[in-house]
């Protein structure tokens, strides 16, 4: 009885301190709020409204998008590609991440550093790197000439896009997995081992469930970045039928603002929905970004 009362008191006193400082704190938020309102919320609202407008007496932008096999196809293709990239990145990054977090060996930190640098490479540069790897004058083309007598060129297809997206997703997964591994309770693994679990059992029963929240939220971000990645697709060629490129084409080539806005809103909505879903699944693990 007494302890309960005491707990309630200490909690409420903390809340009260916050209450007292709130007016000052709210002022500090004002500049950020103003910028977000003027340059983000307002334009976003404009975009949503514009997507619903009827142009030249035709249908609204949303209706045009939802009725067009071409736009829906590009949307589906983008989603599938992003999902496949996410899965592959989680697998590859997960294996390497657990390995790097759990093993100590010479050159480990250098390896970690090298693997995480590409996180900040912009999409255009990644696209160029894919061209160097699998383009007409790329490494694989030369390799193919040597081995099979034909140039292996797949940079300008969905395969190239896949490689590019994988390229900037892997570092993110490795970083997240390593951080999550460090916060994982090692004694759980030791307990499982002491109960006679083999290596794979430990991985399946302890490590993967422990990493799951981090993997889900990181996967969602990989998905989101892959959905919106315009730079890579732009470098690899504007013929690729993914939604960012479609938006760009509609906007610049046909100056069809309504459809461009509608496509943007739908792409943003899908991305955001996936992020929200991941948050729900992973709980508040706070690794978003």
């Amino acid at each position: 009885m007494t302890t309960v009362r005491f707990n309630a008191l200490s909690v409420s006193s903390r809340r009260d301190i916050l209450h007292r400082l709130r007016p000052t704190a709210a002022w500090a938020l004002a500049p950020a709020a103003a910028v977000l309102l003027a340059f983000w919320l307002l334009p976003l609202a404009q975009l949503v409204v514009l997507g619903g407008q009827h142009r030249d007496g035709g249908d609204s932008g949303y209706w045009q998008v939802l009725n067009s096999a071409q736009y829906l196809g590009s949307l589906a293709q983008t989603c599938v590609l992003a999902a496949v990239v996410t899965g592959a990145a989680l697998l590859v990054g997960g294996i390497s991440g657990v390995f790097l977090a759990r093993q100590q060996f010479f050159g480990r930190s250098a390896l970690v550093a090298l693997l995480t640098f590409p996180l900040a490479f912009p999409g255009v540069v990644v696209g160029f790197l894919v061209i160097l790897l699998a383009g007409r004058q790329g490494l694989f083309a030369a390799l193919g000439m040597e081995l099979a007598g034909e140039r292996w060129v797949f940079a300008y297809s969905l395969m190239g896009l896949f490689l590019g997206y994988l390229y900037f997703s892997i570092p993110r997964v490795i970083l997240t997995v390593m951080a999550a591994c460090e916060s994982l309770d090692r004694s759980l693994e030791e307990a499982a081992r002491s109960l006679g679990a083999g290596h794979w059992r430990v991985v399946c029963d302890v490590i993967v469930p422990g990493l799951a929240p981090a993997l889900v939220s990181c996967g969602a971000i990989c998905f989101a970045t892959s959905m919106g990645a315009f730079g890579t697709a732009f470098t690899l060629g504007t013929r690729l039928n993914v939604t960012p490129v479609a938006i760009y084409n509609v906007f610049t080539n046909y100056a069809n603002f309504t459809v461009a806005a509608a496509l943007s809103v739908i792409l943003g909505a899908v991305t955001w929905a996936v992020l929200l879903l991941a948050r729900r699944l992973a709980g508040q693990s706070g690794t978003v970004l």
Partner: protein, 310 residues
């Protein structure tokens, strides 16, 4: 430093969830006096200190420093010095930087600041430590820097919120006596919050014992110990034996384990006594019991005796 009288008039503080931390508190702290607020966790002692400091504003009632009403004044304009439980030293400043902080705000010239800083370092015995970083200091040294920082701007009132709680037992003892000497030589009005009765006894001119947001007793340490106002004060300060009275008899009171002599008119329901007021006898005592435990404590031994009953 001359002291300021602190007066709390009918102060009440309830939190947003409805719990009342302090209820109808009337209190006068005399100029130059050291008042210790003692009580268990959650009794409202910290809230009382925070109301005096200006961190909390009472829902009703007023706070006076001398003749001026400071109820609506924020802490930065109350001219108080405060020592925090975890010291709250600024990790980005060195020792001298911490001590000078308050002087800078009061607009003292660099020469004056350095002079005052040197004075205070000497006062707390850290003459050569001015350029040290906070993380290089031991717990006791941090405690002294916190004290020096609070005293540097010559505050009207010194507030100490469990300042010794984070130290180990031996160091606590030593700093306690140092602090006692310092407060006595400065004659500054100070309020000291603690849950440690030993600290309260040693430091306080008077002790305010609080229980569930109310004053249980306000008296000198001696009176608190020898004439506690109620069972709560008696049991919180020092050890206590309680004997529930089963029934009054012709010459005394029947309690479990025997009979106590009693000549009053109205019989009490419980008899309390300090352990040191009981004497172990070979034969012929008032109470009989079975020795179930014996704890050697150096200068004295503690005996656990079962006299039956609940």
């Amino acid at each position: 430093m001359s002291g300021t009288t602190i007066r709390l008039q009918g102060c009440r503080k309830a939190f947003t969830d409805g719990t009342v931390a302090v209820d109808n508190l009337n209190l006068t702290i005399e100029a130059g006096e050291t008042l210790v607020i003692l009580g268990p966790s959650g009794c409202g002692k910290t809230t009382t200190l925070r109301m005096i400091a200006g961190f909390e504003r009472p829902d009703t009632g007023q706070v006076f420093f001398g003749d001026s009403n400071v109820t609506r004044l924020p802490i930065e304009r109350r001219d108080v010095g405060m020592v925090f439980q975890n010291y709250a030293l600024f990790p980005n400043l060195n020792v001298a930087g911490n001590i000078i902080y308050g002087l800078k705000i009061r607009g003292l010239s660099p020469a004056e600041r350095n002079k005052r800083c040197a004075e205070l370092l000497e006062l707390v015995g850290l003459q050569d430590h001015g350029q040290r970083h906070i993380h290089e200091l031991s717990g006791g040294q941090r405690q002294r820097v916190a004290l020096a920082r609070a005293l540097a701007p010559r505050p009207r009132v010194l507030l100490l919120d469990e300042p010794l709680a984070a130290l180990d037992a031996q160091l606590r003892e030593r700093l306690r006596s140092e602090l006692d000497q310092l407060l006595r030589s400065l004659r500054i009005t100070s309020v000291f919050v603690t849950h440690d009765q030993g600290e309260a006894m040693a430091l306080g001119d008077r002790i305010l014992v609080m229980d569930r947001g109310r004053v249980a007793q306000l008296a000198t340490p001696r009176d608190i110990y020898q004439q506690p106002a109620n069972a709560f004060v008696a049991s919180f300060v020092g050890n206590l034996n309680a004997f529930p009275v089963i029934e009054p008899t012709a010459h005394g009171l029947k309690v479990s384990g025997g009979e106590l002599p009693w000549k009053g008119i109205q019989a009490p329901t419980t008899v309390y006594c300090r352990p040191e007021h009981l004497r172990v006898m070979d034969d012929g005592g008032h109470l009989r019991g079975r020795l179930v435990g014996q704890f050697f404590q150096g200068a004295q031994s503690r005996l656990l005796v079962d006299v039956g009953g609940a």
